[in-house]
Amino acid sequence: MSTATLAQGAEATRTPPRRRSRLNRGGTTAWLFALPALAVYVVFLVYPAVQSLYFSFTDWDGLSATYNIVGLENYTSMPSDPVVIQAVINNIIWTIVTIAFPVVIGLALAMLLNGKVRGKPALRMIFYTPAVLPLVAVASIWGWLYNPQFGAINTFLRDIGLGAFAQPWLGQDSTALAAVMVPAIWLRVGFPMLLYLAALQGINADMYEAATVDGASRSQQFWHITMPSLRPAHYIVIALSLIDSFKVFDLIYAMTYGGPGTATQVMGTWMYFNVFQYYKAGYGTAIAVVITVVAIAVSIPYVRSQTKEHAA
């Protein structure tokens, strides 16, 4: 201890006390720390992303040694591809539905859990369980429930005398997309619930007491105390859900394979089909570029806020 204080005294005369980590001012050590992760990140993420951008300007089939530069042709032909139109619409529906339902249900559950309830940890754990499962397993479970002949859903409908409503949920255009969104909602409720619960526990109970004294009703308290206090949580939930919903692939691939026909195609699956089924790697990567640009554009405010918060 005494040596430390001595050394500190000596140090203080040589260096301005505000400066920390003066050892690394040259940055060499700092860069050695940063290098492994940055190298992996650049080699396997940044570089491939840039390369995809290049491929998107070609007519490459993904196999041949040669290809031609076709400029923007892959992009300009997209609007005349009916499946792209379908996929974009599906992506939009998917985004709205799989954000709105989990956010509303998650908030409702969080508010109930924040009240006078026993067994909170167990309940919280149950609602989050679907989120830890592999998406392929979620797809298998729901495919199993939706099985037209033996699945629990149609069996239930028949058991309660609504057999007329039993139908091939995943096998017909009219219900396939909705049927795939149900498991997405099922597994996505847990995350907003956790975030909202944490945020609700941070609201000072005195505010509700004061509001009650002032004669504010429950709904007034909700709209004027709870909702404003949850604003940061709303922001994070919606930003992260938005990022997530653009990446949809696993559930659709494993449950419907984009079908029946192209009824459940989204941009992600359509990209995959073009590259790996139809050998149109150039066109496929162009679709990937579009998804990425939209995803980045939408989430830039979030990334900025995270960076600013930490850089400050």
């Binding site: 430390a4 940055g27 700092a30 559950l109 009240g115 729901w142 409720v189 000072n204 004669g215 980045i296």
Partner: protein, 304 residues
């Protein structure tokens, strides 16, 4: 709504920063009285409904197929069996897919967390040039869909002979794990006081020594959380595995499960057993480690 004046609306917002600092005990409401019981029952019913697909899966997996077909999927089983599991295990090739997924987990997760922690340390505690630019680039990775990299990664792996091999997945998995890990870890490191680092440095400790003997041990809660979450997402990853792995001997659990699902489409009880085999490790891990997962997710998103 309008009875609350504008001034009383602003007060709560202004009071927010205090609210988050207030100790949890001050705001926790005691669960007591009848209201608590009614609410608990309502929530318990919702929870049972929510978890019912998994419960049904569990029950079905232990009943003979003949019993399932005779009395329907929602009836209580008249007999029990383990045959579904033995059938599913051998036909689903789970011995192989388990081994591959476990191998990948052991190879990828510790390395990923270590290099992420190193980068996070450089960003949080060392004066690194272009720190903000690096942070921005890395955090942007959170939003980048895997699609944008799959074609070049596939080409890259094919050209170095690592397509259709489990180690070939490590690089892409590391790259897509880094943004989240760095985000959480650097925000945790930032909260460690500079004074302890300064003191160690003055004692003559090198940055490496400080990192390994001071920062990492002090950050074990954050490290455990990141390790667990990374393990879960590695175990569950599907798209890269689907694209890069082609032979049965190299498939991971999610890809193997997809094949299995196709093969067992007419054997509903065997299918249930196979799905359970695929998810049991993750469910058990979640049961045991849920405190870390739940806490980590909330911290990762709000602080992070």
């Amino acid at each position: 709504m309008s009875t609350l004046g504008a001034s009383s609306v602003e007060q709560p917002i202004a009071a927010l920063p205090d609210a988050t600092v207030a100790p949890e005990g001050a705001v926790a409401r005691e669960p007591k009285g009848k209201g608590g019981i009614v609410m608990t029952i309502v929530l318990a019913l919702v929870a049972i409904f929510w978890i019912s697909p998994l419960v049904l899966l569990l029950i079905t997996a232990f009943r003979p197929l003949s019993d399932f077909l005779a009395t329907g999927s929602l009836s209580w089983p008249q007999a029990w069996t383990l045959k579904n599991f033995t059938d599913a295990w051998s036909i689903g090739n789970f011995a192989t897919t388990y081994r591959n997924s476990a191998f990948l987990l052991i190879l990828k997760v510790p390395v990923g967390v270590l290099i992420s922690a190193m980068l996070a340390f450089a960003l949080a505690k060392l004066r690194i040039r272009f720190g903000t630019a690096i942070m921005y680039t890395v955090f942007l990775g959170l939003t980048i869909p895997i699609y944008i990299t799959i074609v070049p990664v596939f080409v890259m792996m094919r050209s170095i002979g690592l397509s259709d091999s489990v180690p070939g997945l490590v690089g892409p998995y590391l790259a897509f794990g880094i943004p989240f890990e760095v985000l959480v870890l650097q925000s945790f490191f930032r909260q460690l006081p500079d004074e302890i680092i300064e003191a160690a440095r003055i004692d003559g400790a090198s940055p490496w020594r400080i990192f390994f003997t001071l920062i990492l041990p002090l950050s074990s809660p954050a490290l455990v959380t990141v390790l667990i979450l990374d393990a879960v997402s590695t175990w569950n990853e599907f798209l890269f595995a689907l694209i890069l792995l082609s032979s049965d001997a190299n498939k991971t659990i999610p890809v193997g499960l997809l094949n299995f699902q196709g093969q067992f489409s007419s054997n509903q009880t065997g299918l249930a057993a196979g799905i359970l085999i695929a998810v049991i490790p993750i469910l058990l891990a979640y049961l045991v480690l849920q405190k870390w997962i739940v806490g980590g997710l909330t911290a990762g998103a709000t602080k992070g």
